[in-house]
Structure formats: structure tokens, C-alpha cells
């Protein structure tokens, strides 16, 4: 009984099987297209991290979203008097980049603290941020910033004292 059923299954399926192969082919094409699209979009949305030293050295791209990070230089925060635009300096203790941001700074933003900013470079020294992140812990240092400070301290063992 079982064998008979099986035979019937196979003979019945032959024309359908062609259809099935065609459909599987179509599905594979679809998956491949989707994968290609996904990876392309993925590549466009990657945000690389640059230290102020790398930005000054001209290694950071001008036309795409990037992240920069470091310590906010003491007494560098300047507010415009009429709206909510601020500028402040971010340093890895070797080089410094000025960040301009219009909006409300996070609660834990303070001078002397590590921050990360998302945005685009304008020229070589000014960074227009559309997002500024400071983490919800005073003792916390974003790993990228910690690494940047360490690298900077290693390259010129100057008077660097990370936080």
C-alpha cells in the first residue's frame, strides 16, 4: 500500500516537479537579490569611528556619516545666545576637533567626560553633529574613546592622563 502510494506520488509529480524547480529557481533569485540589496544598504549605513588625530590627519571621509569621540575639553563649551546651538571641542589629548550641535545635549554631557558624536565633517576641523551620546554612567568610558586615548598616549607619551 505504502509503496503503491509512493509510485503514484512520483508519477503524479513529474510535471509538477518542473514547476517546483522553476519556483525554487525564482525563490533563489529573489533571495540573492534581497541579499545583494541588504548588503549594499548595510554598507551605506556603516558608520566608522575616527579619533580626532585621524580626523586632523585627513583620514576621515568628508561626505558620509561618521562617528568621532574623545574627551570634551574643559571650558570649551560655547552656547549661542539666541538658540540652542552649541560648540565644544573633543580631544584625544593629541589633536582636537570642534563639534557643532543644534539640540539638547544628553543629561550626562559634561566637560572633561568622554562622548561620541554622530555626524559629518565640514572641512578638516569642524564636525557637524546630529547626535551626541554620553553614557548613563559617570565612570563609564565609551570603549572607542578609551582606545583612542590609549593609542594617543602610546604614540606620544606626553602629559596624558585619561580622566
Amino acid at each position: 500500500m505504502h509503496a503503491v502510494l509512493n509510485v503514484k506520488w512520483v508519477t503524479d509529480m513529474t510535471p509538477k516537479r518542473k514547476k517546483r524547480i522553476l519556483l525554487i529557481g525564482l525563490m533563489l533569485t529573489g533571495v540573492a537579490t534581497a541579499a545583494a540589496f541588504t548588503l549594499k544598504a548595510f554598507n551605506e549605513n556603516l558608520m566608522y569611528f575616527y579619533t580626532p588625530s585621524k580626523v586632523i590627519a585627513g583620514e576621515a571621509p568628508q561626505d558620509r556619516l561618521i562617528r568621532i569621540g574623545g574627551l570634551v575639553t574643559e571650558h570649551s563649551l560655547v552656547r549661542k545666545s539666541d538658540d540652542i546651538t552649541v560648540t565644544f571641542d573633543v580631544t584625544d589629548n593629541t589633536e582636537t576637533v570642534t563639534v557643532q550641535y543644534t539640540g539638547i545635549l544628553p543629561d550626562l554631557f559634561r566637560e572633561g567626560q568622554g562622548i561620541i558624536a554622530h555626524g559629518k565633517l565640514q572641512g578638516n576641523k569642524l564636525f557637524i553633529a546630529d547626535e551626541v551620546l554620553a553614557k548613563h554612567d559617570e565612570n563609564y568610558m565609551p570603549p572607542e574613546v578609551a582606545a583612542a586615548l590609549k593609542a594617543s598616549a602610546g604614540s606620544d607619551s606626553a602629559n596624558t592622563k585619561p580622566n
Binding site: F37, A41, F42, I84, H136, D137, E138, P142, P143
Partner: protein, 669 residues
């Protein structure tokens, strides 16, 4: 003294879990009933010791015992009692203890409510759960002992992170953990069945209610987290594609695929290998979530401590669990019969498509979450994957998912005539397309193509659900028939599905409309100044200082008027400074509504009484969480379906049905 007792109880719990993992498993393999019977007492013993350990830690917090390092760091005598208790899971060590406790609770629950399981099977399931428990308990004891003492004893504790001093967040972690850990039940059932080589409809029926309940917790946990982020972080956001959110969302997505695939395995005996694989994946992703959150490899609000030893431990644990379960799968799965045959177009196929789409969604979230780690490890630079990518990917795949979701419940099992189905769907198609167009055109509403699209998808779901309800109405013979039918087998599953899918319809409208039509502005305001935003005028009336129980705050007053100059709401956003940790915290002022929220948060003082303020108009934001709640409720209803209880009380019938199934599938039993 009491903390030492807790530590001791923890070690005894580990001993119990060792017994549970080893003895019943061996007993089940060489048929030693005495050893098999040890599973239940061992599970109970483990749980009792975990309760004692947890109780000791709670006691240490309530009695302000700052000689315990963990309490000294995270507790404070000024904390309200409820937050003293929630502080227990406010950081790494305690949250792991909670995890272990919940695992112990699930283990006991399985041992109590699975009396219909064959003794060996139950022994194996509990045993696998014991193995997972060994991993977590040794992690606790060897790397993260919550009972460690410090000397000299500080006079006051370091306080709980102010962000966590909130009711929503007090219950968010336990909910999420109930979900994560609950996935271990489906996992253990799958592993136990693979060991026994017996994967059949009965196995699916046993795992299904457990998986459904775990999924309910996960759903509610994620929804709570999103709601909390919205009102507590002060940015008005409700989902950030933050690595830690992704860590909870991935297991959710895979578990969603799992509960649908389990339905097919139970009803049709098909997809069994696939279902097992999903069960393994869902729990593996839960573990990965723990690894991502707890090891501190990812930077996030949620990561507590970066400690390489802990990270390494979890990584090795993860490798062992995933590696061994996949090896077992590769070894045993080929022996599993492929199960019920079905033709090319039918409900099974539609559920398969839904499963594939969900797995694809989980895969791209995994890609985006792990890419920064991979790039860093390979030295390709430090990257982060932007929010827009996740949103884009999600928007590409979800519509297909929703379309299939609409058709699925109307299609027949096994074989479906496409023409008949098309006839059923015609009305839904007309309703959804015309509704979508109406919203997309600027005739009645603001008009946006995306909003129209979302409304179309929602209407598609809603109208197909109504068609399905009407069909049931006809089959059951009117309303009275449907009412009589309410308590019967299968009706919980059905109405649960209907409610959950309605929830999805709400959710789609919520996320799309709030994304498309919200209005946000960061502004500088002087006292007395009025600013227009969206449909409302916001008048800032300055701030004053107030004193809270353990914080001081600047409280602003913002009056909101509509265009007829009628007062809509008075909002009191606060900028708090917690005294112990001296952290500033933003407490938003929100006027919630079914159709829209008005949301104001204070930025910084700019001198002369001026403040920077963040003003929001958020339409349909509540629908996002309403959807989440409906999805959870629907699933809960499905989990309480009578047939699981019937199966329990009629053990013999269940096993008989099981053997029938195996015979009809040509499987040697």
C-alpha cells in the same frame, strides 16, 4: 551571617543541579527507574535553595547590609522599599541570580504540570534544564558572587542607578527573563526528544503551551522596555535598535517562528526537524542575548560591567550549548520522519513562508548587531550600524509577512484550491486597498504614501480576520453556537490567534503613523513664551525647585492649548538630580491619549530663566504598546487552550494518539 547562608544555599543549589543533570539522564538511558525518579526531588531541591539564596540577598538590601559588596554598590538606605527589592536585579550579579531563580522556577513548573509525560521523557527534560542551570550557577559562584563581603564596611550604599528607580523598569527585567529562560523549556523538550529519538505530534503538543507562555513574557517584557524607554529616557523614542534591544528582539522573532511551526508540527505532524531547529535557535539566541548584555562587549545603557573573565565564561558556555545541541541535531535529526505530506499550496506552505521571513528578519538583526564585533575583531575598523539600516530592512520584510499573515488563517491545511481562496480574499483586498488609498490621498487626512500603505496592511489583516470569524460563525451555527463553542478544544488557540493578529494590526498603524507624522522640535524658551507645534501651542511658564524623597528637581510648567485656545493639558517635566549618585535625570511631562501623545522634556537651563525644551506631538504612539499587549494577551489565551488540559487528564489517550500518528507516518515506534 545571612549572606553566608545565601552563598551556601547557592552552592547547594549547584550541587542539586549537578545531580539533576547527571543522575536522571543516566537513569533514563539505562532504564533505572530509581534514578529517573530522582529528577523531580532534585529539581525541587534546587529551587528551594535558590529561593533561600535570593531571599538572603533581598534581606541584605532591605536591612541595608552594606558589608555585602553588591548591596554597597547598588543599595542605599534612602531608597524606597520597592526599589530596594528591584535593586536586587539592578546590576550584574543579582540579575544573574534572578535568572537562575527563574530557571529553577520553570524547572519546578515543568515537573509539576507535566504529569502526563512518560517518566523518562520528563526526567530527560528536567535533566537538560539542570545542565543549563549548572552553567548559570557556576557562572554566578565562580565569577559573580553576589554575596561577596567588603571591609571596611561603608556607612552608606552607592545607590541604584536613578534610571532604574522606576516601576516599569522594576518589572521589566523579571518579565524579560521569564521569557528568555522560558525558551529553555522548549529547548530542553527538543533536546530530550532528540536524545530519545522520538519526535512526534505529542512532543509538539507538550512543548507548545510552554513555548507560548514564555513568548507571552518575552512580548510583554519587550513592550514594557519600549514604554519605559519612551517616558524615562526623555528622548521620546520607543525603539532604538540598540544592541541590547536587538538581543531581546532576536529570540522573540525566532520564537514567533517557533510557535507557528509548532502549530504545524502538532496539527499536521510536519516541519518537525525545522521546529526542533527553531527551538534550539530560540534558546541559543536568548543565551547570546545574555552574553551581549552582560559581558559588556557592546556599549549600551544596559551593559553593567566589562569584565573579560565573565565574557569568556559566557562565550565558552554559549559555544558548549550551541555546539553540542547542533551536533546532537545533526546526528539525530535525519532519523526524524519528515511527517505529514502536503501539497504545494496550503496553510502549511504559507506558514513555512512566514517562518522563512521571520528567520530572515532575525538573521539581518543578527548581522547588524554582531557586525561591529566582527569588524573590530578582524581589525577592519570600529563601526556601528545605523538605525536607518535596521528600519529599512524591517520595512522591506514585514509587509510580506503581513500579507501572508492575512491569507494563512483562511487557507486550508493540506490542500487549498487557489481559486476558492481568492474568492474568499476578494473582499479583504477591496477593503484594504481602498482604505489605504483613502489615507494616502490628501483628501481626508494629512496624506502620506507610507501611512496609506500601513493602513492598507492593517486593514488587510483586520478584514481577513473578520472573514475568518464569519466563516466560524457559519460553521458553528450563529452566535449561540460560537458562544457554546468557547470552552471547547481548539477555540482558545483560534481566538488567541485572532486577538494577537489584531494586535499586529494596531502595532503596524502605531509604528508607521508615529514615525511618519510625529512632530519634534528642540527649542529655547523664556518663561511666558509660546511656541506652536503641530496642532498645539505650548506655553512655558518657568521652573521651580522641588524636593523629592531622594532627589532634588527643577520642575517646569508647560501649558498646552489647541488652536481654539482651549487648554488641553498642563505638563510638569522635571530635571532631577539624585543626591547620592549626583546624576541628572530627565523626567518627561506627557499627556497621553488614544490618538496622540503630547510630550515635553526639559533640556538645560540657559540662564535668565530660559530653558532648552524638547517638544513632541506623537500621534498613535499608544497603539504600538496596545498592539504589544494584545499580542501577549492573545498568546496567553492560546496557551490556556483546553486541549492541553484535556491531554493532561487523559494520559492514555494522548499516548495512544501518539502511536496512531507514528503508524500513519510509517515511523517505526
Amino acid at each position: 551571617m545571612i549572606p553566608e547562608l545565601g552563598h551556601f544555599a547557592l552552592i547547594l543549589a549547584l550541587c542539586m543541579s549537578l545531580v539533576l543533570a547527571i543522575v536522571p539522564m543516566i537513569g533514563s538511558l539505562n532504564n533505572t527507574p530509581g534514578w529517573v525518579d530522582l529528577a523531580r526531588p532534585a529539581a525541587h531541591g534546587q529551587f528551594i535553595f535558590l529561593v533561600i539564596a535570593f531571599g538572603c540577598l533581598v534581606n541584605a538590601f532591605l536591612s541595608n547590609d552594606f558589608s555585602v559588596l553588591y548591596v554597597a554598590r547598588n543599595g542605599n538606605s534612602q531608597l524606597p522599599d520597592i526599589y530596594k527589592i528591584s535593586a536586587v536585579w539592578g546590576a550584574h550579579e543579582g540579575s544573574l541570580l534572578l535568572w537562575a531563580l527563574i530557571l529553577g522556577a520553570w524547572t519546578v513548573a515543568v515537573s509539576l504540570f507535566s504529569r502526563n509525560l512518560p517518566a523518562e521523557m520528563l526526567a530527560r527534560v528536567l535533566s537538560v534544564m539542570g545542565m543549563v542551570s549548572i552553567g548559570f550557577l557556576s557562572f554566578l559562584i565562580f565569577t559573580s558572587n553576589p554575596f561577596e563581603r567588603i571591609f571596611p564596611v561603608p556607612l552608606e550604599g552607592g545607590d541604584l542607578n536613578p534610571l532604574l528607580q522606576d516601576f516599569g523598569l522594576a518589572i521589566h527585567p523579571p518579565m524579560l527573563y521569564m521569557g528568555y529562560v522560558g525558551m529553555s523549556v522548549a529547548f530542553s523538550f527538543a533536546i530530550a526528544s532528540l536524545i530519545g529519538g522520538k519526535l512526534d505530534a505529542a512532543w509538539a503538543r507538550w512543548s507548545r503551551p510552554w513555548t507560548l507562555i514564555a513568548w507571552v513574557f518575552l512580548t510583554i517584557g519587550i513592550t514594557l522596555g519600549s514604554w519605559w524607554a519612551y517616558y524615562e529616557l526623555g528622548w521620546g523614542g520607543w525603539w532604538f535598535w540598540d544592541p541590547v534591544e536587538n538581543a531581546s528582539f532576536m529570540p522573540w522573532v525566532v520564537a514567533t517562528a517557533l510557535i507557528h511551526s509548532l502549530a504545524v508540527s502538532e496539527k499536521r505532524g510536519a516541519f518537525k526537524r525545522w521546529t526542533v531547529l527553531l527551538a534550539l535557535l530560540a534558546f541559543s539566541l536568548s543565551l547570546l542575548g545574555t552574553f551581549l548584555v552582560r559581558s559588556g562587549v557592546l556599549t549600551s545603557v544596559h551593559s553593567f560591567a566589562a569584565d573579560p573573565a565573565r565574557g569568556l565564561f559566557i562565550l565558552v558556555f554559549l559555544a558548549i550549548v550551541i555546539g553540542s545541541s547542533l551536533t546532537l541535531y545533526a546526528w539525530r535529526a535525519p532519523e526524524v520522519s519528515s511527517g505529514g505530506k502536503f501539497s504545494f499550496f496550503c496553510r502549511e506552505t504559507l506558514l513555512l513562508v512566514n517562518n522563512l521571513l521571520l528567520v530572515v528578519v532575525a538573521a539581518f538583526i543578527l548581522l547588524g548587531t554582531l557586525a561591529p564585533l566582527v569588524f573590530d575583531a578582524m581589525g577592519w575598523g570600529k563601526i556601528s550600524v545605523g538605525f536607518p539600516w535596521f528600519s529599512k530592512m524591517f520595512t522591506i520584510f514585514t509587509p510580506f509577512l503581513v500579507i501572508v499573515m492575512g491569507i494563512g488563517p483562511l487557507a486550508r491545511w493540506k490542500r487549498q484550491d487557489p481559486a476558492e481562496l481568492a474568492k474568499k480574499l476578494r473582499l479583504a483586498l477591496i477593503v484594504s486597498i481602498s482604505g489605504g488609498l483613502l489615507v494616502a490621498l490628501p483628501l481626508f487626512y494629512e496624506g502620506s504614501a507610507w501611512s496609506g500603505f500601513a493602513v492598507m496592511l492593517s486593514l488587510w489583516l483586520v478584514s481577513t480576520l473578520f472573514i475568518s470569524l464569519r466563516q466560524r460563525y457559519q460553521y458553528r451555527g450563529g452566535i449561540s453556537g460560537m458562544l457554546r463553542d468557547l470552552g471547547s478544544r481548539g477555540s482558545g488557540s483560534y481566538y488567541g490567534m485572532v486577538i494577537a493578529h489584531f494586535g499586529v494590526a494596531f502595532f503596524i498603524i502605531g509604528i508607521t503613523l508615529v514615525t511618519q507624522m510625529d512632530v519634534e522640535q528642540d527649542v529655547r524658551m523664556s518663561p511666558g513664551q509660546t511656541i506652536e507645534l503641530g496642532k498645539y501651542n505650548f506655553r512655558f511658564e518657568g521652573t521651580r525647585t522641588i524636593q523629592g524623597p531622594n532627589y532634588r528637581a527643577e520642575r517646569g510648567t508647560v501649558r498646552v492649548f489647541d488652536h481654539a485656545n482651549k487648554e488641553v493639558a498642563v505638563l510638569s517635566p522635571e530635571k532631577r538630580t539624585y543626591l547620592v549618585q549626583s546624576k541628572p535625570m530627565t523626567e518627561a511631562g506627557i499627556d497621553p491619549g488614544f490618538l496622540r501623545d503630547v510630550y515635553v522634556s526639559l533640556g538645560e537651563p540657559l540662564g535668565g530663566g530660559d530653558w532648552s525644551l524638547r517638544l513632541y506631538y506623537k500621534p498613535f504612539i499608544r497603539w504600538v504598546w496596545l498592539g504589544g499587549i494584545l499580542i501577549g494577551l492573545g498568546c496567553l489565551l492560546a496557551a490556556t487552550d483546553k486541549r492541553y488540559r484535556v491531554a493532561k487528564s487523559r494520559k492514555v489517550a494522548a499516548t495512544q494518539g501518539l502511536s496512531d500518528q507514528s503508524v500513519s507516518e510509517g515511523q517505526p515506534s
